[in-house]
């Protein structure tokens, strides 16, 4: 029996649009390098992450170590101002803590809460979106109605509500790390809707594709198909949302902490630092609030820019 040799590799047919699309898709790295602003933003983001991870080792002081704090050092202006102290580059706060160090430690907490809450939101949103999109029917209706209702409230309100409820429920048993996890859960639960909606939409399309039918044909169960076959195909929009969501989560944490329902001053995040510093703004000790503020703005802006670029680069239609 004669079976002909397959099409020669590299000489395969490609319709014009398909080929152009492939050239474009292949150019993720190229598009990244060509876009100076995004390169800078990515570098800033990466620097923040590195600095915050390494904070305990590179920070000039340990702001949590009460033994090293001295009230004599309090209210020191930045090093370049009159009365500044070269030991405290960005000055100190009312308790004599080094502002630069508190920013490094604060960013560490902010980023940790951001990443963990994004992972939580992503896990919930992606799973519910897959279930809603793949099964359809009542499951879809219930999940998406809940999502719709939640969307009618601003995320910050949802986060405040969950935060409040959690605090009341945990009550006096609040341990030292309690607030941290309450914030992760509160923010995570506030942002799952966008993942669910996007994933549901993509799943609705993928579900009817023939590769899913081929998998059903050999008797694979729905969850196996959802997670092994469909999930890899919904990941690129999810990645985009997650990046933009990270900036939002950091901002939400800062807002909650600023409002005083976030992390306590003993374990300050960037938001807590801004709240503390706010009290001294009127007395001219601008450095206590300005520098954490700049750090937060820079971090959020950088992450957002990377997210925007990623969205355009991965899927121009998502705009």
């Amino acid at each position: 029996m004669e079976i002909d040799a397959g099409d020669e590799d590299g000489s395969a047919a490609a319709d014009d649009t398909g080929f152009l699309a492939r050239v474009r898709d292949n150019d993720l790295l190229h598009s990244f390098l060509r876009n100076r602003l995004v390169v800078v933003a990515a570098a800033v983001t990466l620097t923040f992450v590195l600095l915050s991870v390494l904070a305990p080792w590179i920070a000039p002081h340990d702001p949590y170590d009460v033994r090293t704090l001295s009230l004599l050092d309090s209210h020191t202006p930045p090093a370049w101002e009159q009365g500044g102290d070269p030991r405290f580059l960005l000055g100190t706060d009312d308790q004599g803590r080094d502002i630069l160090s508190t920013i490094l430690f604060g960013a560490r907490i902010s980023i940790a809460i951001g990443i963990l809450s994004v992972l939580l939101a992503m896990g919930i949103g992606v799973s519910l979106g897959l279930i809603a999109g793949y099964f359809g029917g009542p499951a879809d209706t219930v999940i998406m109605r809940i999502a719709d209702v939640q969307l009618t409230f601003p995320a910050i309100l949802t986060a405040l509500l969950i935060d409040g409820v959690a605090r009341v429920m945990l009550g006096a048993h609040q341990s030292a790390g309690g607030e941290f996890w309450i914030l992760v859960v509160a923010i995570g639960l506030s942002y799952w809707v966008q993942y669910a909606r996007t994933v549901r939409g993509v799943t609705l399309v993928e579900r009817n594709k023939e590769y899913v039918q081929a998998a059903r044909l050999i008797g694979l169960g729905p969850f196996k198909i959802m997670f092994a076959q469909v999930l890899p195909n919904v990941m690129s929009p999810v990645l985009v949302i997650a990046t933009i969501n990270l900036a939002l989560a950091v901002l939400t944490e800062a807002t909650l902490s600023f409002l005083g329902v976030g992390l306590p001053p003993t374990e300050p995040s960037l938001g807590t630092l801004i709240r503390i510093g706010n009290n001294f703004l009127m007395s001219g000790e601008y450095w206590i609030v300005i520098f954490p503020g700049i750090a937060l703005a820079a971090l959020v802006l950088a992450v957002n820019l990377v997210g925007d670029w990623l969205r355009d680069a991965l899927n121009p239609k998502l705009r």
Partner: protein
């Protein structure tokens, strides 16, 4: 014929509910809308035979394919394959064993391969699901064998689908379909997304594989010339019903249903022989509100009052089955 037919489809029907959501219906005072995609379709397929279903859009041919292969539950009727009823009254074990022996080749070679999976994993999926090979080495060996069988390189297993052309992808789909060692392949428009020269490669490959493995094909297509080339017997569908079933030669030399006749006449004449042709007038009606009686009557030059009111039943007629009041009256 000593052996019973491999596939026996009886009175198959499928209705889809295409109404608006409940709330809209209540508020807008709309009625439920039912789409009878397939109505009372019966046919058999002999072992090692190619049976084709041909029809235009809305004819229900793909819906029949999905019900035969087990992807879509029929509203009514039965699909029996090798004595096992696919949809009711069979033991779960029998159904599972049956699934291994039925595979499908799809129309769109781009959508039928998971873009995020390597080709090797795609082809090995059925092997793993049915436990047909143990261990990584054995599965890899089998995958390579299948790739070579369809004219590709075993090393192609490491690539992703986007690295292949449409024709090569369809070869990968065929390799996946063959990986569970099936008896019966349902091919839903397997070449309609391909260029003609590639279509010829795939059709030749499918015929070679049929000879080599004694496969039985249910071949769905809108292209009469392709169907003529592949099938021994052909069923012509129109708006959810089979209007004619006949051996390929007989259908093409002397169609007995007016719709079959017109479908043949609509095929472009490559030989440019200038054969006399009748143009089909009008358009395919909306399947949600099909015409009463014979659904073809508004476009049929032979339609009588009977055609406008009574649905014609399929009648055995000179070795074929025709559903037309006028069949045999010598007017077609």
């Amino acid at each position: 014929m000593s052996e019973p037919p491999l596939v026996d489809v009886r009175g198959l029907s499928r209705t889809f509910d295409v109404s608006k959501p409940w709330l809209n219906r209540v508020l807008e005072g709309d009625e439920r809308r039912l789409l009878k995609a397939v109505q009372d379709v019966s046919f058999t397929i002999e072992r090692r035979e190619t049976f084709a279903l041909v029809g235009e859009s809305g004819s229900g041919k793909s819906t029949v394919a999905k019900m035969v292969v087990g992807l879509l539950q029929p509203t009514d009727g039965s699909v029996t394959i090798d004595g096992v009823d696919m949809w009711k009254g069979s033991a779960a074990g029998d159904i599972k064993a049956l699934r291994r022996r039925i595979q499908m080749i799809f129309q769109d070679p781009y959508a039928s391969l998971n873009p995020r999976w390597r080709v090797g994993r795609i082809i090995a999926d059925p092997i793993r699901a049915f436990g047909l090979a143990k261990g990584k080495a054995e599965i890899e060996h089998r995958t390579g064998e299948l790739l070579r069988l369809v004219g590709l390189d075993p090393l192609d297993a490491r690539k992703y689908p986007h690295e292949f052309s449409g024709g090569q992808r369809q070869r990968i789909c065929i390799a996946r379909a063959l990986s569970s060692k099936p008896q019966f392949l349902v091919c839903d428009e397997p070449t309609s997304a391909l260029d003609v020269s590639v279509q010829a490669q795939i059709l030749n490959l499918m015929r070679d594989l049929q000879d080599q493995f004694g496969l039985t094909y249910l071949f769905i297509s809108h292209n009469l010339a392709v169907v003529r080339h592949m099938a021994a017997r052909i069923g012509v569908m129109y708006l959810g019903r089979l209007v004619e079933i006949a051996p390929a030669g007989a259908l093409f030399s002397a169609p007995q249903h007016p719709y079959s006749r017109m479908l043949l006449d609509a095929v472009p004449d490559l030989k440019m022989s200038g054969r006399p042709r009748k143009m089909i007038e009008g358009e395919i009606p909306n399947p949600i509100r099909p015409p009463p009686g014979c659904a073809f009557h508004p476009r049929c030059p032979l339609a009588t009052d009977q055609c406008r009111s009574e649905v014609p039943l399929p009648l055995a007629f000179q070795g074929r089955t025709v559903a037309c009041h006028e069949a045999g009256a010598g007017r077609i």
